[in-house]
């Protein structure tokens, strides 16, 4: 019986699996590029759906400068953009040290590769810490707000348009407040995580007595600022529609605006942060391999180049996240 080997006539040529590799890249490098392509499509799907939700609520989306305005050791100072710009620099700089490591690898300089890989890891760790701090501020919230039955957010301002925190609005009432539990309440409604600092009645009462306070809705006016209601309308809005107090942010409520805003923030920056975390871990593995001399023996530092591709990709994604979450 004849052997069933099919001859294609391309043996020895590129597409026949010959000695030359297709696309003139090694298998590992090519596959890293294709992985990056697919991962880039995943991230663009997230960012595009963020854009979708934003276009859907175009006239009531939170203003990024008002949400992300913290800077370490500058409490109460309005510092929009600075912190996230700093984070961007940290990540770009760690990309630079990575590409320096790759370059040193081309010249087979073990000591330099080690140093630059180490700096890259440090940069990644600092970035992760910064992101954790950013999340902490976002979750904790600053001023607090009131939510309407329709799920809209009402915030408080004084007559100058400056934001006012809940504790400056509320008056203390004598009331017995108990966190709702399924076992002794409505079985089909979940447990309250914990009671908010003030009840909605305390906010309403306090608002009535303090004449200079106004309600700010989420709607943007023609100048791109949030609409502030008149005193009468504020009182009516609060009295008729407000049902709950919101402090900080989680997946279902947030004091900044539509819940989708917080969901996308957590999901996209979280997914990016997860990439940074895995990038740091892979960098650490490669770092130890460099120290042990694995690539010296292999006579090629291509692994550093491959992990570098991933690390630059993480930086690349951040460039887009920075634009679409903080700038646009």
């Amino acid at each position: 019986m004849e052997a069933t080997v099919v001859r294609t006539g391309t043996e020895g040529k590129t597409w026949g699996g010959g000695s030359k590799s297709p696309l003139k890249a090694s298998y590992g490098k090519m596959m890293m590029w294709f992985f990056i392509t697919s991962d880039a499509l995943t991230f663009s799907a997230f960012l595009a759906s963020y854009g979708f939700s934003r276009f859907k609520f175009l006239d009531s989306w939170p203003i990024a400068d008002e949400v992300f305005n913290h800077f370490p050791f500058m409490h109460g100072v309005d510092a929009p953009m600075y912190y996230v710009a700093l984070m961007t620099f940290i990540l770009i700089f760690s990309s630079v040290t990575m590409v320096l490591a790759v370059d040193a690898g081309h010249h087979m300089k073990k000591a330099k590769v080690t140093l630059y890989m180490f700096l890259t890891i440090i940069g990644g760790v600092i970035f992760l810490g910064s992101q954790a701090w950013e999340w902490k501020n976002f979750i904790k919230g600053e001023y607090g707000a009131v939510e309407t039955r329709g799920g809209q957010i009402l915030q408080f301002v004084d007559s100058n348009g400056e934001r006012v925190a809940l504790h400056d609005v509320a008056t203390t009432l004598k009331e017995d407040r108990v966190a709702h539990e399924r076992k002794n309440g409505l079985w089909f409604v979940g447990d309250d995580a914990e009671l908010t600092t003030y009840s909605i009645d305390e906010i309403k009462e306090g608002f009535k007595t303090k004449e200079n306070l106004l309600v700010r809705t989420q709607m943007l006016d023609e100048n791109g600022a949030k609409t502030i209601l008149t005193r009468e309308k504020s009182l009516a809005m609060l009295d008729q529609h407000a049902v709950g107090v919101v402090e900080g942010a989680n997946l279902t409520h947030n004091e900044y605006g539509p819940p989708l805003f917080a969901d996308f923030f957590f999901f996209i920056t979280g997914f990016h942060g997860f990439h940074v975390l895995t990038g740091v871990l892979i960098n650490i593995i490669i770092f130890f391999n460099v120290i042990l001399g694995t690539y010296e023996r292999r006579n090629s530092y291509e692994m550093v180049e491959k992990v570098g591709l991933y690390w630059h990709f993480v930086d690349l994604v951040w460039v887009f996240v920075f634009t679409f979450f903080y700038l646009v």
Binding site: P22, L23, K24, A25, W33, I36, T37, A40, L41, S44, A45, A48, S49, G51, F52, S53, R54, F55, K56, F57, L58, D59, D65, P80, M81, Y82, A85, T88, F89, I92, F93, S95, V96, M98, V99, L100, V102, D103, H106, H107, T148, R149, G150, Q152, M219, G224, H241, E305, G308, L309, H312, F313, D315, L316, V319, F320, T323, Y326, L327, V328
Partner: protein, 121 residues
């Protein structure tokens, strides 16, 4: 070619890395400054459904992405086939996705705005 970088003189490669870093930093600083002062005229001028300022941000971002990919990720030294299979796949699919989702988002916005769904119920 794929391994040109190997034969480059060491100094010139590092010099290029630092100059790309300088460009990236300058672009980021420009973005941040524009984001903080928000020039009136750039916000008010609308161009294809978006303010000019937003277009500037997006163009600068794509420029930064180009620099990172071409220089840091050495895309310029890869073969034409690899470059196109990565870049064209991404660019065309993302452009399609963004177009279709933003169009749909704008349509839903009009539905809300037209009063078919109450803002607050």
């Amino acid at each position: 070619m794929a391994h040109d970088a190997t034969h480059q003189h060491e100094g010139s490669a590092t010099k290029k890395i630092w100059s790309v870093f300088a460009i990236l930093s300058v672009v980021t600083i420009v973005e941040v400054i524009l984001g903080i002062i928000k020039p009136e005229f750039l916000i008010k001028t609308s161009f294809i459904y978006m303010s000019l300022l937003n277009w500037i941000f997006i163009v600068l971002t794509i420029y930064k992405a180009y620099l990172i990919t071409w220089s840091f990720m050495h895309m310029e030294h890869e073969s034409k086939g690899l470059r196109r299979s990565v870049v064209w796949t991404g660019v065309f699919l993302v452009a399609y996705l963004v177009f279709i989702l933003l169009t749909e988002g704008d349509y839903i916005y009009e539905v809300y705005k037209g009063g078919y769904i109450s803002w607050n119920f």
